[in-house]
Symmetry: C2
Subunit: 496 residues, 2 copies
């Protein structure tokens, strides 16, 4: 190509934004000039030795600022595409070797799809369980974040950020911010009868990371894991990424039915004893002791997921399984997602003393935790009594919403309604007759803007799962509960 | 036991804090009363049918508040240890079954240690690589967080938190906060010539989670992974938790030496082309094209870790490998840990278009991301131009500190100093003669309060690694650099 044609070549190819609002759709001009020139060099359109116009001239001809051209030239110079010769200007480098000419074939579009996700990965994203909306009727498992005392939080936030402590902004210390670990230990001792000191509390970014950390540090290829059936999809998803034999274990009204006759005892037993997810069963005291004894005898680890025990309406919550354990065989998981707000992403693990130092180290080695500033704000929030009073206030609010939902259900279904769990947590489970297709109801409700998860989807084999709908009431404004259920009831009745 | 002795039994066992400051060492009184009573019931000291004193009487005798006793009683009642009989008081329940009596043997202390961490987990925590201090001479890889414009951040933080948008506090949308993904895409196009749109940008909690996500979604058991030798310990640690065959590949002055003769091509190739970690090599253009061609031919995925390319002093940074790629075979990783502050824990992945939806879904399924409020503050910070000006200011500051360190090294070692990398990033690598034990120097420096990582420790086999010291200068106040190096030089000279 002749030097005089360079500006024409570029001018014809530059895409200019059509207006201010359009800038996001086209690349910035300097990037375009850089890319077009680079491609022209690589494809041989601009040959080695070709002299480029001065940045001033080219800018004028392309009607762009000189900085735009300077940026592109400097970048190409740094990458070896251009070279300068003393006193005579800028040239396409002689040393762009022939062998680096890109293949002239079209990019292999199929590359990503054929060699991309593993079978495991494909399965994981094939039917995502995460809700498509974060808010409204009847999303499960989300607190009412509009009721969160933001002003208090902002005040404490400003207080913490005003400290001149560099450690707040760097990586977290092993195991997390010690004052928060102390607050959590204290809280768990009192309200959950957990037997622990602050050193056993490991701050994670939530239950998912807690499970990940347990499996990364303790899991061995092929380990058997007992998981309640039905179970929380988040635990199932995380476990599915490991090389484990996950065995679904049925739940009755006393909790997990321990398979004492099993010829291959598990290495891990995942349970939700305070409030079975999603059925709401409370594991009985006898079953708890059986489980602890079975675990001790078979050297199995119990992973206790105590995700929402703060919210029981009426009876007091049962103490934790961990507090009953005498063999250091329980790994206890908790979260602030329900009591504070999910986006905070602070959860914790309580591990046996003998493992605490190793877990703290493993967390740092693997994740290099941070967010100390948020951990420090949460510490102040707990110390100041705001956590306790917020939980109490929400318990009353959710209890009221639960009542409204109960009444709405009663209005439509009366004695036919079978409410599987309606005493605790952030959702209730409405049982449906076996001939009802809960997944179809859920899909149709979605079209009308109502979320309700089908109970059967929580089972390892949804076809054999109990039918029902999980109805979250915690993040629905009270006055919207009845109208929303009215619409849902019409859909349910079509399938009844 | 006689009912009259119950209060004596408890009184003799309660541990009272010795003063206000001591409260953390003993459990709260209500927890103690609860636990002591429960243990007495389980061990048979308090027999079934035993009548307990009224809460009022017991409180008086134990000299505690009545609420303390009420708490303990309610808890024990809820757990089935106590029962009430109409009109006659509170009794130890008859139904505490014999079979739940705990084994009288001592807790098996050996349980946790013998059946705890897997071999992999033990290896991971056996020699932790995470620095014991987050700050000061000569910690590597940490920016100077005291220079971070906290006031600007706090202003934006208050602005974002004042919005009445519940989505800020709930779980993150798939792939992260879209406005931030747009800002990052725009930034990467301009400054790193990355070829992407916002949909390809996946917000993670840092490089560790980025690697974890790639491997959880794409990794297959036994996959071969090429990792530069030497390499960042964080990548090595994370990869070690998967079932992978990690092959260390030597690095020369042009970058990774691609093993084209390898009979088993890798499925993943991890590289730091802009600034090899920790040697600082920049991968040459020829080597980049060879690598891209090799990857395309062998259907391998290149994972490009572009962790600190913002900090080059003198020459411009080279464009990203991703921008040169024509086959969609590069997964690009970036982080805000160096440009903003490590504790922010925001990083990102740029994935090929064909994988972007799957990665966004996989992230939500596995981690249920949150921190949208911080993502929104960062968006405002970038939009307002604060990010660009902060990076420029830090580049000047670090460049000055690098000069001071250069001079200090020159003063002590003159022509004998071999500085392997001194052009970019947040640390320089001081090469040492092969007979120097860099690990011993590092240990001795630690005793004197100076951190310096031994270069050999970054190699797959430290015994065959090049000897040297990584000296981070970015988080050392300028005036402390020379005195700190003076002390370090004395230690080095003892080993020279």
């Amino acid at each position: 190509m002749k030097a005089a044609l360079i500006s024409d070549f570029l001018l014809s190819r530059i895409e200019r934004p059509e207006g201010r609002a359009d800038t996001s759709r086209t690349s910035p001009l300097n990037v375009q000039v850089y890319r077009l020139t680079r491609e022209a060099i690589l494809s041989g359109v601009f040959e080695p030795g070709l002299r480029l116009p001065s940045s001033r001239d080219l800018a004028k001809e392309l009607r762009v600022s000189r900085n735009t051209i300077l940026y592109a030239y400097e970048q190409l110079f740094a990458e070896g595409y251009l070279e300068t010769r003393a006193g005579s200007g800028t040239f396409v480098a002689d040393t762009v070797p022939d062998q680096i000419t890109p293949p002239q074939s079209k990019p292999t579009e199929s590359f990503s799809t054929s060699h991309g996700l593993s079978g495991r990965g494909r399965k994981l994203v094939a039917s995502p369980s995460e809700s498509y909306s974060k808010w409204g009727a009847f999303r499960t498992g989300a607190p009412d974040v509009t009721e969160f005392p933001k002003k208090v939080w902002m005040r404490l936030q400003n207080k913490v950020w005003s400290r001149s402590d560099p450690e707040l902004l760097t990586y977290a210390p092993r195991g997390g911010h010690m004052p928060l670990r102390e607050e959590i230990a204290h809280y768990l001792q009192i309200s959950r009868s957990v037997n622990c000191d602050a050193g056993q509390v490991i701050i994670t970014s939530g239950t998912q990371q807690s499970i990940d950390l347990i499996m990364k540090l303790m899991g061995r290829g092929g380990d058997t894991v007992w998981l309640e059936d039905p179970a929380y999809w988040g635990s199932r998803s995380m476990l599915s990424t490991f090389d484990l034999d996950v065995v679904p274990v049925p739940v009755d009204e006393q909790g997990m039915q321990i398979q004492t006759q099993s010829d291959r005892p598990p290495r891990f037993i995942f349970v939700t004893p305070s409030h079975q997810y999603p059925l709401g069963t409370v594991m009985s005291l006898i079953r708890r002791r059986e489980l602890l004894q079975y675990a001790a005898r078979n050297q199995a680890w119990i992973v206790e997921d105590d995700y929402d025990s703060e919210f029981r309406y009426g009876t007091r919550p049962l103490a934790s399984l961990q507090g009953l354990d005498e063999h250091g065989s329980v790994l206890y998981m908790g979260t602030f997602s329900k009591t504070m707000f999910p986006g905070l992403r602070i959860g914790f693990l309580v591990v046996p003393k003998a493992l605490s130092e190793q877990f703290a180290m493993g967390l740092s080695e693997l994740y290099r935790g941070g967010q100390v500033f948020n951990q420090a704000i949460l510490t102040e929030f707990m110390r100041g009594g705001h956590f306790g009073s917020h939980v109490r206030r929400m318990r009353m609010l959710y209890s009221e919403r639960l009542n409204v939902l109960h009444m709405a259900i009663g209005k439509h279904f009366g004695d036919y309604a079978s409410i599987i769990d309606g005493e605790a947590g952030l959702h209730l489970t409405l049982g449906l007759p076996n001939h009802c297709n809960d997944r179809a109801i859920s899909e149709q409700a979605k079209v009308e803007g109502i979320m309700c998860r089908p109970l059967s989807a929580y089972y390892a084999n949804p076809d054999h799962g109990r039918r029902g709908l999980l109805l979250g009431y915690s993040c629905v404004p009270t006055e919207q509960i009845e109208p929303a259920f009215d619409r849902l009831a019409r859909i349910i009745k079509r399938h009844w």
